[in-house]
Amino acid sequence: MKYITTIDGKEFLVEIIDDRHISLDGKIVKVDFESVESQPVFSLIVDGKSYEAYVYEGGEDLEILVKGKLYHSRVEDERERRLRAASGGLVVQSGPYHLKAPMPGLVVSVVVEEKQEVKQGDVLLILESMKMQNELKSPRDGVIGRIQIKAGDSVEQRQKLLSVE
């Protein structure tokens, strides 16, 4: 079974050969992989090097915690990859960005207006939650699309706030 695995933007071609062998970008690697019963804890030994990993699902992806560092991974088999490529999913940068509330809270102020131009990193609005005022920033340059909330609104987690086009 062949997979294309993306770790923080870097792609690896991983083929499962058998229970003890994989190929990583064409190089055969002997792997000793175990999971701890009923726990999200894994142990990988490769060439004597020991790695402990905590693995959990974050949305569609797996989050892998290894030696204190968290990696974001996406694993696709060839069919999934072709499907996503065909649907244009590989070109994430285009299309509007929808800013959603990362947590429930109170909109303290909306800093931008519709049709305003913004740069990456510009503050879009301020959301109060957990007793803190949190600045939500634009992930890229663009123009503000529809603003769906106003100052004083209570919002739920993942509620759409506004878009950057």
Partner: protein
């Protein structure tokens, strides 16, 4: 004689106080909001009573209801912890009026230190240096403050009179921006403390935030337990504290300690308290404020002095004299505390909510974890995002740093984002290692990226693991269940007890 204590708080500090009570053989009464029905402090206490819905104003801030519960349950005293009602003199007074013991200072001391203007006046009269600012005349209007600002000089800080924890605080670099900042500071103060009075204070650049822990009994004895270095802050929230401070020498420590004792005596202080100072680069120090309560970061002082501050609070409340003198207080090694918060340091420290599904605490030599969180706990937006306090002790500061690195790597929290990577990066930073930092360091000079990139990473290992996990999931989903070779080997046998699968 106190035999039952009500703890008017939640989370890690509630558990901390419950533990002290249990170790003193004292019965405990917990109070809780609807959101905290399953919380550790509820399960840990001898008794537990519901206060109301999740928002603090409907639960943990309901002083009258809490006093009523104390009376009905037969608790002889109330420990307020920190935050919530801890520094409300009217609450402390109401507790006293109800015939109960307030485990903390007298209401008059809270009043004197709670209003920052009165506090500055009081300590100035006692000969304690203060930061230049608008003091003495009470609540000034925006117009008056705008007039006084140039006399103090820029940059300066707008601070909430009733405040703490950076709420209602604004930094002002020139007169033009001041009116808007006054407005927003007052709005935040109003929402946080119920009143919008603010004052101005000179901003001392390159300053360190250093505080002195004191303990005072009911018999006039006051000792200090040395300093805590609290300069590592972000948006005026402390992130990491250490004791002793790498910046303070023994002479300065004794001078600051003596001044702190003087400040405490000026208000006839009782119980544990903290005097916060700003120390400039020339080692001049200025009184900032006194926190008339137990401090979040009290454990680092406990680790280097061997004094259990919470137990001392209870002993003091029982009328006992302090069992040690200033000369008995030593500094043994070094301690560091990292506040582990549910926030993502890679995304502007955005709070992260959700359920903690799995957690592994660091253990072994020199490590203490104070927490109210457990697997199954849900981080809600109603309360602060602190998951735990990770505290280490080392024979030397260097050993403590190395141990903290080890502890941070051992600490596993699954389910929410945490600021552990921030603390890891800090422990690797040369500036921290050298002890060369001030209150602006985190916000202005520290970067998650610059240091992290030097570290060895293992994206290839993560790729292998991710693929193997996904592959196993796919196989299992397709009902192609292969037997693991090891499971059939001869050292396998039937487990006697099976977990209750819920």
């Amino acid at each position: 004689m106190l035999t039952k204590v009500l703890i008017a708080n939640r989370g890690e500090i509630s558990v901390r106080i419950l533990r002290a009570c249990r170790e003193l053989g004292i019965q405990t009464v917990a109070v809780y909001s609807e959101a905290d029905r399953q919380a550790m402090h509820v399960r840990y206490a001898t008794e537990a009573y519901l206060l109301g819905p999740a928002p603090s104003s409907e639960s943990y801030l309901r002083g009258e209801k809490i006093i009523q519960i104390a009376l009905e349950s037969g608790a002889g005293a109330i420990h307020p912890g920190y935050g919530f009602l801890a520094e409300r003199s009217d609450f402390a007074q109401a507790v006293e009026d109800a015939g109960l013991e307030f485990i903390g200072p007298k209401p008059s001391a809270i009043v004197a230190m709670g209003d920052k203007l009165v506090a500055r006046e009081t300590v100035t009269n006692a000969g304690v240096p203060v930061v230049p600012g608008t003091e003495g005349t009470g609540n000034l209007s925006d117009d008056e403050l705008l007039k006084l600002a140039p006399q103090i000089g820029f940059p300066l800080l707008i601070k909430a009179t009733a405040g703490g924890g950076g709420k209602g605080m604004r930094e002002v670099t020139n007169l033009d921006e001041m009116p808007l900042l006054l407005k927003s500071a007052r709005r935040e103060a109003k929402s946080a403390f119920g009143e919008d009075n603010v004052y101005l204070e000179k901003l001392i650049l390159g300053a360190r935030h250093i505080e002195i822990q004191i303990l005072a009994d009911k018999h006039g004895n006051v000792v200090h337990l040395n300093e805590r270095e609290c300069s590592l802050q972000r948006r005026h929230q402390k992130l990491l504290e250490e004791s002793p401070s790498p910046f303070i020498d023994e002479g300065l420590r004794q001078r600051m300690g003596a001044v702190a004792v003087k400040a405490a005596k000026a208000v006839e202080y009782e119980s544990a308290g903290t005097i916060e100072f700003l120390v400039d680069k020339d080692k001049n120090f200025y009184f900032l404020e006194m926190n008339t309560r137990l401090q979040v970061e009290h454990p680092i002082t406990e680790l280097v002095t061997g004094v259990d501050i919470v137990k001392e609070q209870i002993r003091i409340a029982r009328g006992r004299k302090l069992s040690f003198t200033q000369d008995d207080v030593q500094i043994n090694g070094a301690a560091i505390e990292c506040r582990i918060n549910a926030e993502d340091p890679h995304n502007n420290f955005m709070p992260s909510t959700g359920r903690i599904t799995h957690s592994v605490l660091p253990t072994g030599p020199g490590i203490r974890v104070d927490t109210g969180v457990y697997p199954g706990f849900e981080i809600t937006p109603y309360y602060d995002p602190m998951i735990s306090k990770l505290i280490v002790w080392g024979e030397t500061r260097a050993q403590a740093i190395l141990r903290m690195r080890r502890a941070l790597e051992e600490y596993k929290i699954v389910g929410v984002r945490t600021n552990i990577p921030f603390h890891q990066t800090m422990m690797d930073s040369h500036r921290f290692m050298a002890g060369q930092y001030d209150t602006r360091f985190v916000e202005e000079e520290f970067s998650m990226e610059s240091i992290s990139e030097d570290k060895v990473t293992h994206p290839d290992v993560a790729a292998i693991i991710a693929t193997l996990v996904k592959h196993e999931q796919t196989e299992r989903a397709a009902h192609v269940v292969r037997r693991n070779e090891r499971d059939t080997s001869n050292w396998k046998w039937v487990s006697r007890w099976e977990r209750l699968t819920k």
